[in-house]
Symmetry: C2
Subunit: 480 residues, 2 copies
Amino acid sequence: MLIHISFCLWEYAGKSRRGGDRELVRVQDLTPEKADQLIWLRARVHTSRAKGKQCFLVLRQQQFNVQALVAVGDCASKQMVKFAANITKESIVDVEASVRKVEQKIESCSQQDVELHIERIFVISQAEPRLPLQLEDAVRPDGEGEEEGRATVNQDTKLDNRVIDLRTTTSQAIFRLQSGVCQLFRDTLTHKGFVEIQTPKIISAASEGGANVFTVSYFKTSAYLAQSPQLYKQMCICADFDKVFCVGPVFRAEDSNTHRHLTEFVGLDIEMAFNYHYHEVIDSITDTMVQIFKGLRDNFQTEIQTVNKQFPSEPFKFLEPTLRLEYTEGVAMLREAGVEMGDEDDLSTPNEKLLGRLVKEKYDTDFYVLDKYPLAVRPFYTMPDPNNAKYSNSYDMFMRGEEILSGAQRIHDAQLLTERATHHQIDLEKIKSYVDSFRFGAPPHGGGGIGLERVCMLYLGLHNVRQTSMFPRDPKRLTP
Amino acid sequence: MLIHISFCLWEYAGKSRRGGDRELVRVQDLTPEKADQLIWLRARVHTSRAKGKQCFLVLRQQQFNVQALVAVGDCASKQMVKFAANITKESIVDVEASVRKVEQKIESCSQQDVELHIERIFVISQAEPRLPLQLEDAVRPDGEGEEEGRATVNQDTKLDNRVIDLRTTTSQAIFRLQSGVCQLFRDTLTHKGFVEIQTPKIISAASEGGANVFTVSYFKTSAYLAQSPQLYKQMCICADFDKVFCVGPVFRAEDSNTHRHLTEFVGLDIEMAFNYHYHEVIDSITDTMVQIFKGLRDNFQTEIQTVNKQFPSEPFKFLEPTLRLEYTEGVAMLREAGVEMGDEDDLSTPNEKLLGRLVKEKYDTDFYVLDKYPLAVRPFYTMPDPNNAKYSNSYDMFMRGEEILSGAQRIHDAQLLTERATHHQIDLEKIKSYVDSFRFGAPPHGGGGIGLERVCMLYLGLHNVRQTSMFPRDPKRLTP
């Protein structure tokens, strides 16, 4: 049954009389209950191996795959076996096949108890014969099979050929889990009475002083890309939305080429009015994170284990309620471990990491809040601690010792905001519209911004944020 | 009880011992069941009217408000009445008050059956005395009260002072409904097995030919802002995600100053592989829209009616299943109505509007699909109709006669794509990576992009997309 492959394009362009009433079965549903049924299936050719009068295929749909056989005999001719053997890897095929139980489990496939005996096969979309990378190489754990000379694929090759790299079980699992994080984030907050807002990304003035901001040509003038939705979230609070969240891109023109910096990433942002204490805000955020961690643990075990196969890591641990330490306690723990630092020094990245390890040892948690940062190391709009002018009502949150959120109670009084901006030597003219937002009644409020890619990376115990960004952007990468 | 207003800032900056165990009641919960209870409430001063020994306040929380009274007597001194009378409109106050049933309904408030007798009042945040606009003017229907010389507020003033304009009942309703649209969109698609993806907004090459694209300075080179996530959605389909959606900003550098164009808007995007016919895609999209319409109708009646008070419109009508007309049918209806146009001419905006009215008259629906557009008026990547080379497997969707979605089956074969691009005289070098995405096996697929602001505008029968964009961007507006 030789089919000229280009027919398929047109078959699927118009109304297909032929296939319109076929029911296509999913690979994951191929279980012994379907034994001896004749089914139709659309899948990719994952691997293909011809052997005499037989051709063994592995057919794949996302993370699921099944063994299939074309054998010369009742239902296949010699030509058909040859045709099947010549179908390139990653091509998409439709097959009609009978499902057969197997005696020995097929360890290499997700469907271990059945195989398919193919009666008809059509090529829906032919892949070019030379793939830029092999899927089995792209999921090989570092170091494994090195002695046999088996290849792994370096990150740039993966990212350059992302359309293929995203087909791997690891990538499929990462991005399905990421979709879950967004959903859990929004569902939890919606349930708490938060309203989703959409904030503009093109803005007229650089929001936080003008450093690290991308410039856009805007008709006859120029504009900037928002480094965070903070001003707009705060405006919504001043506009009586009470509790808001948004999910969207944020842009940082930082020339940082590290494992955790991107120039464009997805911000999960929260802002809320509170009644009596900014810890109401911390509690809302930490509870949201806990709901995310629980949702992932309970609903994404397959994805977590799939990623773990390639990138082993310890399960993510968290406490309920979330551990909250004061900055001074963190500094004391670091000093006890031999670090020399002043009370009002900011945490360096290595010290953050170290503190994460110390906290893990002492409290057995991978997630905690560090509260009451020194006022001097925080932005001008941060509310000072009323009890100790050296500190502030601000906090960072950490996963596996890396920062995933920075937040604070914001100053909601135009006069105090002006004083603090002046103290920071900020040009008042540039922040006028920001300050003016608070002149017509503003409730006490606070919030924070979470980096989606970092949350996914750290939850899964990965080591590079490019693994959890579908199409990462950094100073050296703008494609694909 | 004169309270110096600035104390509040610091009370709320730190741990308030005083207020920590107060329970704050919501205005919407102030019903006769609470009669004679002493409660605490935080709200804005909506209006204030002193009259002899009494001061009448209307206290507001979002769209809810309640009448409150400070009267010289047992629980208030003359000074306290004077203090209350001097609190500026839009200030935020905490009051302790007893709830009293009223004999005559208070027609001007949302809580018509009770009023508050205030015993204590604290100013949490003082508004400046001169508001740039009055909330009651901002919600006045056009023309109403003109004879009495009552003002309405023009759109630019509203947008220039968006923090205040967003406090109106109309704005609160619009943006709560918008939050609902996003949630319904995602929930419906998640339920259908779609995966949410995040696509980059900074891209290296202008996606659709280079017109109408914003340029960004990107370190030592330049980049562009994505005009749509289409390429990335399609890459995800080629990468086996099967069905994907995304919600995010899209950017159009079009110098169009119309009621329905923005330079930045929120795209609700869908892309999916299909089995046999691109109508599977149309069905998924129209069903998603129907779920949104039903969800709004069933869960957002209050919001819809609130908006209708200021901007009266007919309830939005839709059919199940959604009406699908072919382009040629639409052209025939227009010709019957006296319009002269060629078979392969595109629809002008007035003709779209007219066709919407004709369809409404004939089929009684405000939502329909126009299918099989002339190939000549669609982008190069649109799949031609296999049965008639003049037409294509593409469609637009309309609400109240205005386009809200444009979509198509996409060409998934690199060779045909190259032919069509050549026909359109597109520089093949510039679309190389796009075309290459289809070289390693690509399933037949299609999708479309919906403009969130347009959906909200047209569902509510509004007449300007700036009303449904929180912080609209157009060629002349970049602020706030």
